[in-house]
């Protein structure tokens, strides 16, 4: 696997703030890579370093093997889809999309033709003469996308591209982006704080927290085998089991994660450390989430909805396979 983007010991400090702190990252060519993390975790800074808007305080960044220290954004074959689209308000849609071609002095007819083709690709054929101000958020998003891919960049960076769209549109765009990435074969790097988005679209995910990369892996790895309490908590809604509890089940005094859907709930008393009281019940449609108080530890379980779901105050016993309890290697 050739690395499309590789970061070695990259730091970016703003005064005393370590936005990125000595991170290592490799993104493969043709990969759909997601950088996931809460706001202020350094993921956007990381993106801006790759795009060239920021320079690293220390460390090395390579794009397809070439060192990019001191290379300005306009000389990098990397394009960005901005969070708020950054469409030029004084140009119409076609001029916006054809902007990179105009800069390369492609003649006017070829420009219009290519731009129209790019607009077709994002399902906005025939919108060329409109102004960005006349479009909806979803349409602007597509124009920004068309503009970013028209130069056929080596790497496409997407900064929270779906953040401003409503749920339905977001789901639709997720599928379209993924399909587009397959068609174009370009390396996509997506920055998002939405774990659902990262898991559903990316081939691999890097979880950022406080300027560090906490874990890199496939969505399945990240979801099922989190390596730390932060990852388990941030990606999905895992139960984080304290060492004392874990010791009583598997004999090792370690932190572990336990997915709510891996737990099955039966009414009545059972083994003492697994019996508790239902303290909250929320209906989620096909499933229902129960919060069970287990001797002071609150545990969430997701069970199929139905008539036999225990109500608040009911005594229940939790059951799960021993290997569902995942010991987190980065925790003591």
């Amino acid at each position: 696997m050739t690395a499309a983007v590789s970061l070695q010991q990259v730091s970016r400090h703003f005064g005393a703030v370590k936005a990125l702190d000595q991170i290592d990252l490799e993104v493969g060519a043709g990969e759909f890579f997601a950088m996931l993390g809460p706001s202020g975790s350094g993921k956007t800074t990381c993106l801006r370093l790759i795009a060239g808007f920021e320079q690293p305080t220390s460390g090395h960044i390579r794009i397809f093997g070439e060192a990019v220290e001191g290379v300005p954004p306009y000389r990098r074959n990397v394009n960005t889809v901005f969070q708020d689209y950054a469409l030029f308000p004084h140009m119409n849609v076609l001029e916006n999309v054809a902007y990179p071609l105009m800069l390369r002095k492609v003649d006017k007819q070829a420009r219009a033709k290519q731009a129209e083709a790019a607009l077709e690709l994002v399902k906005l054929g025939g919108y060329g003469t409109r102004r960005p101000g006349e479009l909806s958020g979803g349409q602007r998003q597509r124009v920004a996308l068309a503009r970013a891919i028209i130069n056929k960049p080596k790497v496409l960076l997407l900064d929270e591209p779906l953040g401003a769209l409503d749920l339905k549109l977001r789901e639709q765009m997720q599928e379209e982006l993924k399909a587009l990435q397959k068609t174009l074969g370009i390396t996509f790097i997506l920055v998002t704080h939405d774990q659902g988005e990262a898991l559903s679209m990316a081939d691999r995910v890097a979880v950022f927290d406080q300027g560090k990369v906490r874990q890199v892996g496939t969505p399945e790895d990240i979801y099922r085998l989190p390596n730390s309490r932060f990852v388990a908590d941030f990606v999905g809604s895992s139960n984080i089991m304290p060492p004392g509890f874990v010791e009583s089940i598997v004999g090792e005094k370690r932190w572990a994660s336990l997915r709510p859907e891996a737990i099955h709930v039966t009414t009545g008393e059972g083994a003492s450390q697994l019996s508790g009281t239902v303290v909250a019940r929320s209906y989620l449609g096909s499933t229902t989430r129960l919060a069970v108080d287990l001797d002071g530890t609150r545990i969430h379980a997701v069970v199929p909805s139905g008539d036999d779901v225990p109500g608040e105050g009911a005594r229940v016993t939790l059951g799960f396979a021993k290997d569902a309890l995942h010991l987190m290697e980065n925790e003591g």
Binding site: T80, A86, F88
Partner: protein
């Protein structure tokens, strides 16, 4: 007190006196409120300002009787406007327009970098310093500034002295040797007039450009760079078009202020007249109010034409 009363008081806060009632009334009648707000401004603008302008316009359609020197107010005529086309009057117009255009261009060129840096890089204390620096000259008397410049530009003035100290007097002499715009010394040449005009009107160019550049979102500049535009191209295709309304706004100030000014060319410059001086002379000593009015119409027409051209060129598209 019954329970019902207590509940009512809790939901609807009590009206506080007649002022409260008035607030409530205006809240229900927003149109009336807007009308009330507009009335003083409309009266001022409509009667005092536009009214006098129309009175002036009317004057320009009268003509003076050449023998008696009396203004004939009984007939409307274009005779006075024909007067404007006489070589000595046309000269004044061309001279003034050329001066206004060069002052505007120079102001824009000087103002843009200052405004750009202030809008995009200056923060906090530095921004305050910028505003202070730009506005400070506006707080001192216009006349004091102009006479100060007369001293600076005079033959015995500081500028000549600096050039002499640097052994560059020949540069100044060469500059003053240029026909028409040159002269005996800077203070009695068009170059001097031009320098003072640029100095006096520069803040009116800097502030609108600064406001316009500040409104250009920085991510547009990043996007342009990201899509392959080197800084100069980004300037040409993104920053300049988006800042253009600001430049136009600034140029309206510098252009029209230069067109109408009559003090600067009188204090600093050759004895050849500008429109403002011509207006002053005709309505004063010469008593030719119609010609003065016709001269005043010239800048208005020029500005109207200028704005129309600017609009046609798409200068306001980014607004």
């Amino acid at each position: 007190m019954s329970t019902a009363d207590a509940t009512a008081g809790a939901v609807l806060a009590n009206r506080r006196g007649w002022l409260g009632s008035l607030s409530d009334f205006f809240w229900r009648q927003p149109t009336l409120f807007v009308l009330l707000m507009l009335t003083p401004a409309a009266l001022w603008l409509g009667i005092v300002y536009l009214g006098s302008l129309f009175a002036l316009l009317l004057q320009s359609f009268f003509a003076i009787d050449e023998f008696s020197g009396i203004v004939d107010r009984s007939t409307l005529t274009l005779k006075t406007y024909a007067e404007l086309l006489k070589p000595q009057n046309l000269d004044i117009i061309v001279r003034t327009v050329m001066m206004a255009a060069s002052v505007t261009l120079a102001s824009a060129v000087i103002a843009f970098p200052i405004a750009y840096v202030a809008a995009r890089y200056a923060r906090g204390k530095w921004k305050a310093l910028f505003y202070l620096g730009v506005m400070l000259p506006l707080w001192s008397s216009y006349l004091v500034k102009i006479y100060a410049w007369k001293l600076i530009l005079a033959k015995e003035g500081i500028l000549n002295w600096v050039f002499a100290q640097l052994h560059l007097t020949f540069v100044l002499d060469a500059l003053l040797g240029i026909p028409v715009i040159g002269g005996n010394s800077l203070s009695i040449s068009f170059i001097g007039t031009f320098l003072v005009f640029v100095y006096v009107w520069l803040p009116y160019m800097i502030l609108p450009i600064q406001a316009a550049v500040e409104r250009v979102p920085s991510n547009l500049i990043e996007a342009s760079s990201d899509l392959g535009a080197p800084p100069l191209q980004t300037f040409r295709h993104v920053i300049f078009p988006l800042a253009l309304p600001g430049i136009i706004a600034g140029s309206i100030f510098t252009f029209s202020l230069t067109l109408g000014d009559y003090i600067i060319p009188q204090v600093i410059g050759s004895s050849r007249l500008f429109i403002g001086q011509a207006v002053y002379a005709h309505q004063g000593t010469a008593g030719n109010i119609p010609l003065a009015a016709a001269f005043t119409v010239v800048p208005i027409v020029i500005m109207g034409f200028y704005l129309w051209m600017a609009k046609r060129q798409g200068a306001f598209d980014a607004l």
